[in-house]
Symmetry: C2
Subunit: 259 residues, 2 copies
């Protein structure tokens, strides 16, 4: 039987609020079994970029990562955010080890192909090195990934943290019985967007189609759920979406997604 | 018989010059056997600090690391410098994994006690976790340390890179036959400071005393050598001082220090 593995992705809202982050890290540290944390960088990269006089470049509403922005992203994601999370996890007796995709050659990407927009130093994940990550897990370390990848030829890339989480989960599901958790500010996928407690507890392929037709699941939640089903189709056992309390023992109010 | 381990520390002059750094990383990647890299941050932290409007605070000519400076140091050392080194090593087929002292709980420090000066968030190394670092080496990773430590309670510290290198060497010499390399801009300890080729090839306790008396070794080199003898007294096998070329196969012109 495969060992269990939990992969938890936290979003910007949790990282930016010191109290939520502390609370989350305490719960994460207490989680039993193999685990991996994936975090974005929140607004701190934009904030430091501004202070350094680097403007966020946007084309057609999409953010471009030029060389200067990449420097800021690397500093904030892999430096400030990652090392503070690692130090706090160590304080909670969790043997964390902070990683970019370059460390241990963990996540190899290619520069996003230029179609109509050149996104700059943005990487699309090509390969997750499940062997390297498994070696760290076997040695009882807890990998903490920031949202950076590399091309294996010396170039770092900015990469979407949700994608890193799902690709790592997919790659490790060969060796582990893997659950992927997306931890954000809502209690789950909501039936009524204005009602925090209207969490849809279970979504599968069948009722997902209905929820789409009924326009209960719309807009930003659609690509998120497509991403979840992609992971499930690639042998991730289940995907859970909810807020920090989802990691509490006996938590009940969150969304579980299965095929 | 113990396995061999090389611990190499590179200084700011190498890090700041992209060509020297590339050349060094190529040589480092080719080194056989277990190895660890330790790097400082060079002047880039000061430069980014200035751009962020953070003044370097000095008291009696000593640099103070306040909360804002610590943020910059963490971003530059653990982010920008460390991740670019790791990505370049990976490009050279060296399976590097970048670490601060918080990662894998590798280096625990205490805030430097306030005597006459409060240095701020500067840590003095207390314990090197040889077991954690050995686990990474056994898994065939190459640890790359930046000059940061932590107190185990969530606080990161700025710590001297020379000290990190010698303390890591001392701790690992229990398990490995350890050689410590200090790689800087000179070819070694010079007999005549103006003559780059006047390298003293061998220094031991006996001729060190003479070289001190004859005022051949003076000023900044004295604490460096005291630090080397400290490591040797704590069972590090040998210490070598020289420039990048010291890592070339069949290198001859550098200083070897033994007891």
């Amino acid at each position: 039987m495969k060992q269990k593995l939990s992969i938890i992705k936290i979003g910007g809202n949790i990282i930016e609020d010191q109290e939520s982050l502390s609370e989350f890290l305490k719960l994460f540290a207490q989680l039993e079994g193999n685990k991996v944390l994936v975090h974005g960088g929140g607004k701190r990269a934009t904030e430091f970029g501004k202070r350094l006089g680097i403007e966020s470049k946007m084309v057609d509403g999409r953010r471009i990562t030029d060389a200067q922005s990449l420097e800021v992203v690397v500093m904030v994601y892999a430096g400030l955010v990652n090392k503070n999370i690692v130090a706090q996890l160590q304080a909670n007796k969790c043997d964390a080890i902070g990683l970019s995709g370059a460390d241990a050659n963990a996540i190899i990407a290619v520069k996003r192909p230029v179609n109509t927009i050149d996104f700059g130093f943005v990487g699309d994940v090509m390969t997750v090195n499940a062997e390297s990550i498994s070696k760290l897990l076997s040695a009882e370390f807890v990998p903490v990934f920031c949202a950076l990848t590399h091309d294996g030829r010396g170039q770092l890339f900015n990469t979407n943290a949700d994608t890193i989480a799902s690709e790592v989960a997919i790659a490790l599901s060969q060796n582990y019985d893997t659950t992927l958790y997306y931890c954000f500010e809502k209690k789950g996928v909501l039936r009524t967007i204005t009602d925090e407690d209207s969490v849809i507890k279970r979504i599968n392929m069948e009722n997902y189609q209905k929820l789409k037709q009924q326009k209960i699941i719309v807009e930003g939640m659609l690509p998120k759920l497509e991403n979840c089903f992609h992971a499930l189709n690639k042998h991730v056992q289940q995907v859970c979406i909810g807020d920090i309390s989802m990691l509490e023992p006996n938590a009940q109010l969150f969304t579980t997604i299965t095929l």
